[in-house]
Symmetry: C2
Subunit: 290 residues, 2 copies
């Protein structure tokens, strides 16, 4: 398929490489020359403008930092778009922002999908991302083969914004999950019981989660390398809490977790993986020893 891709960062670069590997042709644009080199070397075509990325493309993807970036990319892409172009934004932004951008693009004949991902850099490289999609069903079917090259769990959840809502739910579950696992392992340690044996005993029961299995093991290994950086989870929890504020919705466990991410970043651990939550709790209880 003829594709475009904007946003060649930690996530975007390996996603483009997987699209090329699956046989798609990919037109790319980046502000920095350096970001282009590795994907052009693998066969992507560098363009001079956002509009040029859209020319002749069936689907243009973006994977950037925040809502204003998405809006800017969307504007540029719309300039070069043929009628019916699908614009699939894979960034994590607020559901309301995604719906606004989609509505503006619709007036210009571009169909937008919000398609945020979960799984981190590891998942982007392996092509095993979870992709949560909101928007028109026909547009989703057009983009589906390309999504399949980047993710292993690809689901259309509902209309415009629904992908971002699902991502927000994902960040509630993973953020609160990391907090719970960190609290449990620190509780075991401070009670004089080996947290590794507690984790092992609990994996077979209702306490099982992928967070306990994967992130729990990394906590035991004291491997705080990202993965998924604490400041990024902090940003995502801010989106969740702002959305909850708009909806008049109480999220007690997510709220306290958002505060813990604030404390994590405030303690200088923002560049660590979000599992540095364990170090925060340890610092609040006399250190890592029992």
């Amino acid at each position: 398929m003829d594709l475009g891709f904007v946003g060649l960062g930690l996530m975007g670069r390996p996603m483009v490489l997987n699209l090329l590997k699956a046989g798609h042709s990919v037109r790319v644009w980046a502000r920095r020359e350096a970001a282009l080199a590795p994907v052009v070397a693998a066969g992507a075509v560098a363009c001079e403008s956002l509009a040029a990325v859209a020319e002749g493309a069936t689907v243009v993807f973006s994977c950037v930092a925040d809502a204003p970036d998405v809006a800017q990319v969307a504007d540029g892409v719309a300039e070069g778009a043929a009628a019916g172009l699908v614009f699939a934004d894979m960034s994590t932004i607020a559901p309301a922002a995604a719906r606004d951008i989609a509505a503006r693009l619709a007036e210009r004949g571009v169909r937008m999908l919000d398609a945020p991902v979960s799984g981190g850099e590891v998942g982007a490289i392996a092509g095993t991302l979870t992709i949560m999609v909101g928007g028109d069903a026909d547009a989703f079917e057009i983009a589906r083969p390309a999504f399949a090259a980047m993710g292993k769990s690809v689901n259309r959840v509902g209309e415009s914004g629904a992908g971002q809502v699902a991502k927000a739910c994902n960040q509630i579950l993973t953020g609160v999950g990391v907090a719970a696992v960190a609290e449990a392992l620190n509780f075991a340690q401070k009670s004089g019981v080996d947290p590794a044996r507690v984790r092992e005993a609990l994996l077979g029961g209702f306490a099982y989660s992928r967070i306990l299995e994967n992130h729990g093991q990394r906590m035991l290994d004291r491997n705080f390398k990202p993965g998924f950086k604490a400041w990024m989870h902090q940003k995502d929890m801010r989106i969740v809490m702002e959305e909850a504020h708009q909806l008049g919705l109480a999220l007690p466990a997510a709220a306290v977790t958002a505060q813990m991410f604030n404390a994590l970043v405030g303690s200088g651990m923002g560049e660590d993986d979000s599992i540095a939550m364990l170090k925060l709790l340890e610092a609040m209880s006399g250190g890592a020893e029992a």
Copy 2:
């Protein structure tokens, strides 16, 4: 093996039936005649006193409500115990209380294991409980074949009290997990997105947990029948928070979850399953509809 069992409630009764099915002989005692009938019909031997349950037994199990009950059963059992008897308490009590009772029994030649369980009535009936054991390694090996008849995940976690510490960790993870799933599904619903499709999209990624899979489905089915009653999880969270207070340990996510269980019981939903957490959040945000 010659076994004794005290505490023939919702959990204890099916556990005794599984011991009998596995070919063990089981001596039982209960305050109420009615509690005895179903296990005696299946082959258990009714005794006149706690001391009589212990006579000739290699291991005596108990599964009762709270620490004072365990202490009382332990006293009675010690009266009839031959030297070296293993007393395996499967109730959920505070780690410190378990260690105290174990120390007093040790003076009378009885070896105590703390062996609380997870998996609820369903797990007790199916013989698929998670059993978390603290105490002497030799005593654990003696009791292991009997544990294997009641649970599928049986682990010795450490010395006396370690089983209760693991159970506390389990209740942190499952309690906070239920809160997080309830918050995420209510967030989706109030955002106008089908919570069933959100759950489906997230099951394939890092947000996967057995709580999202099982309890999440029951929330969608609005099946609030226990399972595991909210007031019981409230009780277990009280043990966790008291222990954290003793240890000088902050558990922010567990603390807010404990408060939500308080609110659940205070709202008259204590006899519902702990997943009634969803109804509590709905009541705080205008009801079950979007």
